[in-house]
């Protein structure tokens, strides 16, 4: 009984979070929908057609967006996993200070940061390049990565890593075979956050990409700021669906990797023992 009650509660809470999204779906095909009607008065496909029409930049920019965000995710994971490990497993002078410092990208407004870095990026020849955009996207996602991995490492400890080393695994091997699989839940949640935040980045993309790197939000945001709800919703819809698919795809790949490092061995031994 306790369980069914909690299931009902779970469903209600989840639905109240998910259902609002129906509004985006509806508005993406709604021409007019005056008060107090419950269903749109007139439907149309202008928004979606604009996005998918031949020669539309939307599709190209989606690919650019995904490419950038995937790189950002990989790079950020690569630097925040060791960082989180240091904060999660070690005691050292300055730790408390660093824990606050890593939040800086959230605390200092991205406008201030972006403007500050713009000049340096120009001098380094990174503006108007995808590389520059990727690098700048790393900044706002650092807090998410570091924080999540710090917590995960605090939780899992390093006993299994020790075991790996004892069995002769070098640092890299230990990382690949033991650390990665044990922190996989953290990688999935941090990776999702990083991907999402990078994927929806607007201001920094524009500032550093200078308009030559056209991501999807660059096209989408002006519509969202305008009163054209159909265009705004259509772009949002495509954005959300693509981001979700990309996320699930990445997650699936990670899980596949994860099971490859354990499951296949399992199959093999089960078979042989019969």
């Amino acid at each position: 009984m306790e369980r069914s009650l909690s299931r009902i509660l779970l469903i209600i809470l989840s639905l109240s979070l998910i259902l609002p999204l129906l509004m985006i779906l509806m508005w993406s095909v709604t021409v007019s929908w005056p008060f107090p009607e419950i269903f749109p008065r007139e439907l149309g496909l202008r928004g979606l057609r604009t996005i998918f029409q031949p020669g539309s930049r939307a599709l190209d920019s989606l690919i650019t967006s995904i490419r950038i965000s995937v790189f950002v995710t990989i790079l950020t994971l690569a630097i925040t996993i060791p960082g989180g490990k240091a904060l999660g497993l070690y005691e050292f002078p300055g730790k408390g200070f660093i824990k606050i410092i890593v939040l800086a990208p959230l605390i200092v407004s991205p406008v201030a940061i972006g403007m500050g870095i713009h000049g340096t990026f120009i001098r380094l020849g990174l503006t108007n390049t995808e590389l520059g955009v990727i690098l700048i996207h790393i900044v706002p996602v650092i807090p998410y990565g570091i924080r999540i991995f710090t917590n995960i490492f605090e939780l899992v400890g390093d006993q299994l890593e020790e075991q790996g080393k004892v069995l002769g695994a070098g640092s890299f091997q230990t990382f690949m075979h033991i650390t990665l699989p044990t922190i996989m839940p953290g990688i999935i949640s941090a990776g999702s956050m990083i991907f999402i935040i990078s994927f929806s980045q607007y201001f920094l993309t524009f500032l550093i990409g200078g308009g030559s790197v056209q991501t999807f939000p660059l096209l989408m945001v002006p519509y969202i700021q305008s009163g054209d709800r159909m265009m705004a919703a259509s772009y949002s819809l495509v954005f959300i669906v693509v981001a979700l698919l990309a996320l699930l795809g990445i997650e699936k790949m990670l899980r596949l990797y994860y099971s490859k490092n354990s499951g296949i061995a399992g199959v093999f031994y089960t078979k042989n023992s019969d």
């Binding site: 929908w33 713009h118 000049g119 002006p222 009163g227 159909m230």
Partner: protein
């Protein structure tokens, strides 16, 4: 780059055309309108490709962000990515006073010389600020208010009528609070309607002076406040939200600094078909919008060619067509050849929009740019506690 700058001034138009051939031009500007985006990416880009083998890249971007980017590039003395920017008003003032624009260049454009009246105040001045050839006219708009004729058969055409209309329908009129761009224009229109517009054209940008000049208008707003939506305690944050509220029937009036907005919204189905534009009897503020060339444009020759083409009757007429955009043309009727004039006459105006001549007759000039923030400030101090 330096060379090019030097060359440009001495080059003939033919040489410029030749130089520009096969190049790429990047045009940055507001991208929140599907029709405009389509027109830019479609008609204009195709024209450029066909006529000059120029690839025109339309980059949707807000002007304040563009200026920030230019400013950063200027400090680092870097080459830019934008060749043309869509600009006007205060932003032009900021750009020009910070040396972010290349110019003067308008005199180099054959179409400017041929079709544009360079002595027209709306070409010479932008928000009271002299353009000095640093930006070429692009189009014109005028502030309008939009009502649903079915709901409001006799829309108010002056501030007093507006007040009694608000009293008759309390809570159904509102506007985005300044310093929102459109809300700010609305406030200036009311001010013009109450205290006239002439005094502002050469008014000192001094808060006390302005405060005194607009005091009656502030009284008016205070009187209006209780009859506004939510009793004037709060205002929509953006024009977009006001548009949505109007579309959903929550308020009775919406406004636009775009005389053609109504026909676009009607044709896209957002606004009721009975929506119509209204201006005050004493007229409403109008302004022009322009195209500038960033100081660090990489392809100035290309930019000049494109701007020149935009000033051609074909492009201007196409832009005037509400199916494309509906923006008022900037060419001088008197300078046009007969056949060109006909192109304009053939353009069919959209639903609910006022014809060009009605607008032009009731067109008031903008206040000088420096006054705008001062007025906004005073309004806020008076009406937001």
């Amino acid at each position: 780059e330096e060379e090019e700058t030097l060359d440009l001034e001495t080059m003939t138009w033919e040489e410029i055309l030749e130089e520009a051939e096969g190049s790429e031009v990047r045009f940055y500007g507001w991208g929140g309108d599907q029709a405009i985006n389509d027109w830019m990416n479609g008609f204009v880009a195709e024209q450029m490709m066909e006529k000059y083998d120029i690839t025109l890249e339309w980059v949707p971007m807000n002007i304040d962000e563009i200026l920030n980017k230019l400013q950063g590039e200027k400090q680092a003395a870097a080459r830019g990515t934008a060749d043309m920017i869509w600009i006007n008003g205060e932003n032009f003032f900021t750009a020009k006073s910070n040396d972010l624009l290349y110019g003067p260049f308008t005199e180099m454009l054959p179409n400017f010389n041929n079709y544009v009246n360079s002595e027209d105040v709306e070409v010479k001045y932008d928000f009271g600020y002299p353009t000095e050839g640093y930006e070429a006219p692009f189009g014109k708009t005028q502030f309008v208010m939009i009502y649903d004729q079915e709901q409001t058969p006799n829309p108010p055409t002056n501030h007093e009528a507006l007040l009694s209309y608000a009293k008759a329908h309390p809570g159904e009129i509102t506007f985005p609070a300044p310093p929102d761009f459109t809300g700010s224009v609305f406030v200036r229109n009311i001010i013009y309607d109450i205290v006239g517009h002439e005094q502002f054209l050469d008014m000192e940008a001094e808060k006390e002076v302005v405060r005194e000049a607009i005091a009656p208008a502030m009284e008016y707003f205070k009187e209006l406040k209780p009859y506004l939506w939510r009793e004037g305690e709060t205002y929509p944050a953006t024009l977009a939200q006001l548009e949505n509220m109007y579309a959903d029937g929550e308020v009775r009036m919406v406004m636009a600094y775009n005389s053609n907005l109504v026909s676009q919204r009607i044709s896209s189905g957002m606004f009721p078909e009975t929506s119509t534009s209204v201006i005050f009897d004493k007229g409403t503020v109008g302004n022009g919008h322009f195209i500038g060339v960033p100081f660090n444009s990489y392809n100035r020759v290309g930019a000049l060619v494109v701007i020149n083409e935009i000033l051609s009757p074909e492009v201007q007429a196409s832009k005037y067509n509400p199916d494309n955009w509906g923006d008022l043309p900037v060419l001088d009727n008197d300078k046009l050849r007969e056949e060109d004039r006909e192109i304009f006459e053939r353009v069919e105006l959209g639903e609910g929009a006022l014809p060009q001549d009605v607008l032009l007759e009731n067109r008031l000039p903008e206040v000088p740019a420096p006054l705008v923030p001062i007025i906004d400030q005073i309004w806020m101090e008076n009406l937001l506690d």
